[in-house]
């Protein structure tokens, strides 16, 4: 069963979205993994708020299921903006010296590093990015 939050896609709503995304986590969830979920949520939502729509007023839906169980926590981020698969973005080159290091592209990279599974689909005019993370397995 999935719960849903629908908000206007703007950075001002970030805390509300983070609170929703972590809403099924209990006090038993290690702080480190709670932080990982917060970070993944922030990076994806901020990308939607910043780039999905050419005009303000667009929406974002966050769909949430699971939590600390064996299936893990699954979050889907849905927007009606321009079709865009963030997972296709090439990973940044982490060996470049400081002056050549590009300033963008780190958010999606962090998401890919942290979650156990990430997939993108474009369906009925909507971008749907789904991530899943198992909580509490050997501190991963």
């Amino acid at each position: 069963m999935a719960d849903e939050l629908r908000v206007e896609a703007k950075v001002d709503n970030l805390q509300q979205v983070i609170d929703f995304a972590t809403g099924t986590l209990t006090d038993a969830c290690p702080m480190r993994e709670r932080m990982h979920i917060e970070l993944v949520t922030e990076e994806i939502f901020v990308n939607i708020a910043s780039y999905a729509y050419s005009e303000p007023g667009g929406f974002a839906v966050i769909r949430r299921s699971g939590g600390e169980g064996s299936e893990g926590l699954t979050l889907s981020f849905i927007d009606g903006g321009v079709p865009y698969d963030p997972l296709k973005k090439p990973d940044p080159d982490l060996t470049l010296p400081i002056d050549e290091r590009p300033i963008g592209g780190l958010g999606v990279f962090l998401v890919k590093k942290i979650v156990d599974e990430a997939y993108y689909e474009y369906k009925d005019g909507k971008n749907i990015l789904t991530v899943r993370k198992v909580i509490g397995k050997n501190g991963q």
């Binding site: 932080m35 060996t95 958010g107 962090l110």
Partner: protein, 99 residues
Amino acid sequence: MEIKKEQNGNALTMFLSGRLDTVAAADFEKELEASLTDVTSLVLDCKDLTYVASSGLRTFLMAQKRMNKQGTMTMRHVQDAVMEVLAMTGFDDLLQIER
């Protein structure tokens, strides 16, 4: 996030506490821009910084690039949670970090 500053001549220490998320990063960037003129030694004390997102990393990178031109920047007392994000992105090699 809260930022406290201690200035001693050309040496500036900024004490960062709380969460450096996307909203806070914009404020932090403005604060840096307003504070770094004539500063040759910048210390970012991260003892009470509990969280950083990529927007915060970008701000650290911009500050380090600027300070490389006019002096030094050192981050100190970096917590594990923040250090992990720095390491995941290779920023631990770009920034001067004292733990």
